[in-house]
Amino acid sequence: MSTVQIDKTIDARGMACPGPLMNLIGAIRQGQVGQIFEVLSSDEGSKTDIPAWTAKAKHELVEVRQDEGYAHFIVRKAR
């Protein structure tokens, strides 16, 4: 289990690509620097899209953890 403190969880399970990524982007834009966001996604595209966008937008991908039928993506807003 993760030990980081999550500030906001976005439950995007069941959403089609690119919905979970778009929800993460929306939440990060409204958040504060340093806040930790968790996205729950069952979309296979998220596994490549969330790391790619996080790197491009210069945020920090803290953790990716597979669960049953979905994954947790934990991202820190870095700027």
Binding site: G14, A16, C17, P18, G19, L21, R29, W53, K56, A57
Partner: protein, 137 residues
Amino acid sequence: MDEQEKPLSLVLFSGTDDKLNAAAVLTVGAAVMGRPVNIFLQYYALRAFRAGKVCADHALAWEATDALTHVIRAHPGQHWSELLKQAKDVGEVNIQACALSMDMFHLKQADLDPLVDGIEGVAAFMASVSDGQVLFI
């Protein structure tokens, strides 16, 4: 996303919902990754952007059999117009109507959905393409 990325330019010709959706997905991807997107609407794609017609049934490409049509329609993904709105919200997306197609179908800007930013000729579109790629869909 500080460095200037090369634009992605899409010429949308087909007006079926599947092709418009595929184009909208590419647009979202480019926009979130910091690439400006230029969209040039011609022929049937332009007609799909008429005010009040965006959410109408624009049918599917000829490859879509009855069985596939059912699968595509049942998928919970967002409508292409919603994806384009999101792309505009997070990135730089400029949607222009081809002046020739506007003339052909006797359309004015007021006849188009607000997603369309303006009307331009092909040379102006090519100027915005710059040295980026063009996809014809």
